[in-house]
C-alpha cells in the first residue's frame, strides 16, 4: 500500500488488520489528496479513523503540503451508485447481492441502489426482504438501497405496491430495463409517488422506435449493417416524461422525476431546459456513455474524447486506423447503446455543467452464455461498478473533467438525488466525528481489468484487458472495512 496509508491494514504495526465487515479500529492516512465535496474543498491533508469514526481531518498547508498532488493517493467520501443490477433474486448465475456488493466495494462505492428488474420483480416488499436478507448474509458493510417497480411485474399495466414499497424504504420507483410503457401510467405513478415523496426513476426509451435495434443509429451502425437505435427514441421519452411531470405538479407538488443513463445531447438539452424552468428533474449519466463510443462496436478502443476530430465531428475509425479489436464484441452491447463521439462529448459537457447530477454505472452483469452470442441476440449491459472510477479518472487525466467534479458526481450528486431517503451516511463529506465512509485510491497507479480482477460475476465489459488509472486501495463503509487492496 502507498506509504501515505498507515494502520488498519495487514502487516502494519500498531493496529490489527480488520476483515471485510469489521469496524476499522485505527487508520491514519498522511500526506494524501483529500476531496470533500460538501465543504467544496480539496487539497493536501491527513485523516485519522478510529473505532469506525472519522476522528480527524487535517488540511495541510505550506511546506507540509509540498509534493502532495491529486495524481497520487486520494481520499474521498464513499461513492454512491444510483443504478445497479444485482440480479438476485432470479439470475444469481450473473450476479448475487454478495458478489455485487463486493464489486461495489472494489469500485469505491459504499452505497448502491439496486434496480427492481429481478425475477420476480421488486413490485412488493417481500422481494425487498429477500434482497436485504442476502445483503445481511453477505457481511458486506456496503449499504444496499432499493428501487421498487412502477408496475406489477414491470408489465406496464397495474401499479406495483407503491405505498408498501415506500414504507419498506424504496428510494425510487422504476421499471428500468424499459420505459414506463404508457404515458398514462407514468402520469399516475408520478402523482402517487409524489404523494409518497419518492422519485420516479425513468429509463427513457421509446420502445416502438427501438424495436429490433442493435447499435446507435449512425455511421458505425450503417457500415456494420446493424439496426439503428435512434437518438430520437431517448429524446422523445425524456420529453414525454418531462411534459407529464409538468402536468402533475399542481396536484402533486412532491412529484420528482429522475432520468437515468441519459446518453444523448438532445435528452440532456431537454433536462437542461426543464431545470431552467424550475421543474423537479434530475438525471444521471454512465461512465460508458461519456468515455466510450459506438466505434467500439466496430473495434476501436480509444476514449470518446480521442474519437472527436478537431472539427468537433466524430473521426472515422475505418480511415484513421483506430480499429484494433474484433467488430461486434457483445461486451459493447448495452441499452442505451454506446453513442457517437458528439453525444459522448455532450454527456461529458452535461456532467461538467451540472445538468447531469450524478454518474451512475447501470452495472449490468451478465453470464458468458448470455453474452457469447450473435451481436443482435446478446444481452444488453455492461458490468460497470469496478471500472467507473477508472473511466472518470481517464477523463480527468485528459482534462475533460476535474477531479472535484468527478467526485461530486459520485458522492454529493447522487446523494442529493436520493434526498433524505439516501441512507445513513447522508451528505457525503469528510466530516469529523461522523462514521467513516470513504474511499482511498491511488490515482497514479494503474490496474488491468481482467475477469480475475473483478469481484463481479459479470466480466462483460469492453474494458477487459485495458489498463485503467486509479487503483482502489481501501473502501470503508459506515466505519467498517468494505474492501482492501490485497496487494497493498
Amino acid at each position: 500500500m502507498a506509504e501515505a496509508v498507515r494502520g488498519g491494514t495487514a502487516g502494519d504495526a500498531g493496529a490489527s488488520a480488520p476483515r471485510v465487515g469489521e469496524v476499522v479500529e485505527l487508520l491514519e492516512i498522511s500526506r494524501a489528496w483529500l476531496v470533500d465535496p460538501v465543504a467544496g474543498r480539496e487539497g493536501p491533508g491527513e485523516i485519522v479513523v478510529r473505532d469506525g469514526l472519522l476522528e480527524a481531518v487535517t488540511w495541510l498547508e505550506g511546506a507540509e503540503a509540498e509534493g502532495i498532488a491529486p495524481d497520487g493517493v486520494v481520499v474521498a467520501p464513499g461513492f454512491v451508485d444510483l443504478h445497479v443490477h444485482l440480479r438476485e433474486p432470479g439470475n444469481e448465475d450473473a450476479e448475487t447481492v454478495a458478489s455485487g456488493l463486493a464489486a461495489a466495494a472494489h469500485g469505491g462505492f459504499t452505497t448502491v441502489c439496486a434496480m427492481a428488474n429481478t425475477t420476480p420483480a421488486a413490485d412488493e416488499p417481500g422481494v425487498f426482504a429477500r434482497v436485504r436478507g442476502a445483503a445481511a448474509a453477505s457481511g458486506s458493510p456496503v449499504e444496499l438501497l432499493l428501487h421498487g417497480a412502477v408496475t406489477v411485474g414491470r408489465g406496464g399495466e397495474r401499479l406495483a405496491a407503491l405505498g408498501e414499497l415506500a414504507d419498506a424504504g424504496a428510494v425510487g420507483f422504476s421499471d428500468d430495463g424499459s420505459s414506463v410503457k404508457s404515458p398514462l401510467i407514468l402520469r399516475n405513478v408520478l402523482l402517487y409517488a409524489g404523494m409518497l415523496g419518492v422519485p420516479v426513476v425513468e429509463h427513457a426509451e421509446d420502445a416502438v422506435m427501438t424495436t429490433g435495434a442493435e447499435a446507435n443509429e449512425g455511421y458505425v451502425a450503417s457500415v456494420l449493417g446493424l439496426k439503428g437505435w435512434p437518438v430520437a427514441a431517448e429524446v422523445m421519452a425524456v420529453e414525454r416524461a418531462i411534459a407529464v411531470l409538468a402536468t402533475v405538479l399542481p396536484d402533486a407538488p412532491g412529484a420528482r422525476l429522475h432520468l437515468t443513463h441519459l446518453s444523448t445531447a438532445g435528452a440532456l438539452d431537454a433536462v437542461r431546459r426543464a431545470k431552467a424552468a424550475g421543474l423537479p428533474v434530475t438525471c444521471d449519466v454512465t461512465p460508458h456513455h461519456l468515455g466510450l463510443t459506438d466505434e467500439w462496436v466496430a473495434g476501436a478502443r480509444r476514449w470518446a474524447w480521442e474519437a472527436l476530430g478537431d472539427d468537433g465531428a466524430a473521426r472515422d475509425p475505418w480511415a484513421d486506423g483506430a480499429l484494433v479489436a474484433h467488430p461486434y464484441s457483445t461486451a459493447c452491447r448495452v441499452n442505451p447503446p454506446l453513442r457517437g463521439a458528439e453525444d459522448a462529448a455532450a454527456v461529458l459537457a452535461a456532467l461538467r455543467d451540472g445538468t447531469a447530477d450524478a454518474v451512475a454505472t447501470d452495472h449490468a452483469p451478465h453470464t458468458q452464455v448470455d453474452k457469447e452470442a450473435e451481436f443482435g441476440l446478446a444481452a444488453n449491459g455492461i458490468s460497470g461498478l469496478e471500472t467507473a472510477l477508472g473511466v472518470l479518472l481517464a477523463a480527468v487525466g485528459a482534462r475533460q473533467l476535474t477531479l472535484g467534479r468527478a467526485v461530486e458526481a459520485l458522492t454529493t450528486g447522487p446523494s442529493r438525488v436520493l434526498g433524505d431517503r439516501g441512507g445513513h451516511i447522508g451528505a457525503r463529506g469528510l466530516t469529523e466525528g461522523a462514521a467513516a465512509d470513504l474511499v482511498v485510491f491511488d490515482a497514479g497507479a494503474a490496474w488491468t481489468v481482467t475477469a480475475d480482477a473483478l469481484a463481479s460475476r459479470g466480466a462483460n465489459t469492453p474494458l477487459l484487458g485495458r489498463e485503467l488509472p486509479g487503483r482502489v486501495l481501501l473502501t470503508i463503509a459506515a466505519g467498517r472495512l468494505a474492501y482492501r487492496d490485497p496487494e497493498a
Partner: protein, 336 residues
C-alpha cells in the same frame, strides 16, 4: 486498380468482410478467379486442390443460389462437402451458435461457409473455430463473395474501374450486397453512386458524407448518395439493381411496389440516360417488373447470368486461397 507488381500472398485466415482486403488482396482474388474460370472451361471441371478437406456449409437463412454456388465451388475443388440447413429455431431451442460451431469442428470441418441473418455472426464463429470461416452473407452487413463476383464481372467487361460510374439502385439499407460493394468498388477507385427512395438509403448519406473531404479509404474516388434517378443514371457505366423485399411495404417503409416500380424501377427508357453499353447487373433473385423490368434483365448488356457463373469461380478462388493459409502464414486476428 493497381495490379500487384510483385507476387502477393494471401494471408487472411478468414473472409468475413471485404473492408480488410487491400487492393493487392482483391487483385489476387481476381487473378485466382481467372485461373478458376479456366478450370470451369475444361470438359472436366474438377481439380484436386481441396481433396481431403472438409468444407461445411451452414446456412441459417434460406437460400438456394448462394448455397448451391458454394457447394459446386467446393466440389469442383474436390472438397468433402457437408451441408447443414440450420434454422433460426435452433436458437430458440437453446443451441447457441458457439455450440454449433464447436460441434461442426468436432465433426472434422476445416472450413465453414456460413450464412446468417444476424450481422456480425461470422465473427463469433471465427472466434471459436480453429479453421477458416468464409462469410456467405451476414444480416445487413456483408456478402464478400457477391461483391467480389460483381467486381470480377465488371472488370471482365470494363477493365480498370478507376473513374467508372457504378450505380447501385434500390434497398441498400437492408442490403449486405450493397455494403460489401461499397468497400470493393471504392477500393478500386470507381465513382460509386447509390440511388433509391430516401427511407431505404438511410445511413448511407452519412456514410458518404463521412468519406467526403479526403476522409475514407485511400484511393476512393467519389461516393454519392441520391434519390435523383436521372442524376444517378446519367452516363453510368454499370447499373446494379437490388431486390426490393415485399416486407418493406408491410413495415410501412415504402408505400407500394407499384409506386416503387414507377419511380425507381430500372426500365429501358430510364436506362437510355446511361452509357449505351452500360452493364446491367442484379445479385438476384429478381422481382421482374419491380426493381428491374423484364426486358431490361434480358438485354444483351445484362450480365446477370454471367454473375451467377462467375460466382462459382470466385468462390472456388476464395476456398482455394483460404486452404493455402494455415499455421504460421495465417494472421491470427479475426480481421485478418
Amino acid at each position: 486498380m493497381s495490379e500487384p507488381t510483385t507476387e502477393h500472398f494471401w494471408h487472411h485466415r478468414h473472409v468475413l468482410d471485404v473492408d480488410v482486403l487491400s487492393a493487392a488482396d482483391i487483385g489476387l482474388v481476381m487473378k485466382t478467379t481467372d485461373a478458376m474460370k479456366e478450370i470451369l472451361a475444361r470438359p472436366i471441371t474438377k481439380v484436386p486442390a481441396l481433396r481431403g478437406r472438409n468444407v461445411t456449409i451452414i446456412f441459417y437463412e434460406a437460400s438456394t443460389r448462394t448455397r448451391v454456388s458454394f457447394e459446386v465451388a467446393a466440389k469442383n475443388l474436390s472438397a468433402d462437402v457437408v451441408n447443414i440447413a440450420a434454422s433460426a429455431s435452433s436458437v430458440s431451442k437453446g443451441e447457441s451458435l458457439v455450440d454449433t460451431i464447436r460441434t461442426i469442428e468436432a465433426l472434422g470441418a476445416h472450413m465453414i461457409v456460413m450464412r446468417h441473418g444476424t450481422s456480425g455472426a461470422p465473427y463469433l464463429a471465427a472466434e471459436v473455430f480453429s479453421g477458416s470461416v468464409l462469410n456467405g452473407g451476414d444480416g445487413w452487413h456483408a456478402h464478400p463473395t457477391q461483391a467480389l463476383l460483381d467486381l470480377y464481372t465488371m472488370r471482365a467487361h470494363l477493365g480498370d474501374l478507376r473513374g467508372k460510374k457504378v450505380v447501385i439502385l434500390g434497398d441498400v439499407l437492408h442490403s449486405r450486397v450493397a455494403r460489401s460493394n461499397v468497400w470493393t468498388l471504392t477500393a478500386m477507385g470507381a465513382d460509386l453512386w447509390i440511388c433509391g427512395p430516401t427511407p431505404i438509403l438511410r445511413g448511407f448519406d452519412t456514410w458518404a458524407a463521412h468519406w467526403a473531404n479526403g476522409r475514407g479509404p485511400v484511393g476512393h474516388d467519389g461516393f454519392t448518395v441520391t434519390s435523383d434517378m436521372d442524376a444517378a443514371l446519367k452516363d453510368a457505366d454499370v447499373v446494379m439493381a437490388l431486390r426490393l423485399q415485399r416486407e418493406r411495404m408491410d413495415a410501412g417503409i415504402l408505400p407500394s411496389l407499384r409506386e416503387y416500380a414507377a419511380r425507381f424501377g430500372l426500365t429501358r427508357e430510364r436506362l437510355t440516360a446511361a452509357r449505351p453499353d452500360a452493364l446491367v447487373m442484379h445479385p438476384g433473385p429478381m422481382n421482374e417488373g419491380v426493381e428491374i423490368a423484364a426486358d431490361v434483365a434480358v438485354l444483351d448488356r445484362s450480365v446477370i447470368t454471367e454473375q451467377v457463373s462467375n460466382g462459382v469461380a470466385v468462390r472456388m478462388a476464395l476456398l482455394y486461397l483460404l486452404a493455402g493459409v494455415h499455421g504460421d502464414d495465417a494472421e491470427g486476428s479475426i480481421g485478418g
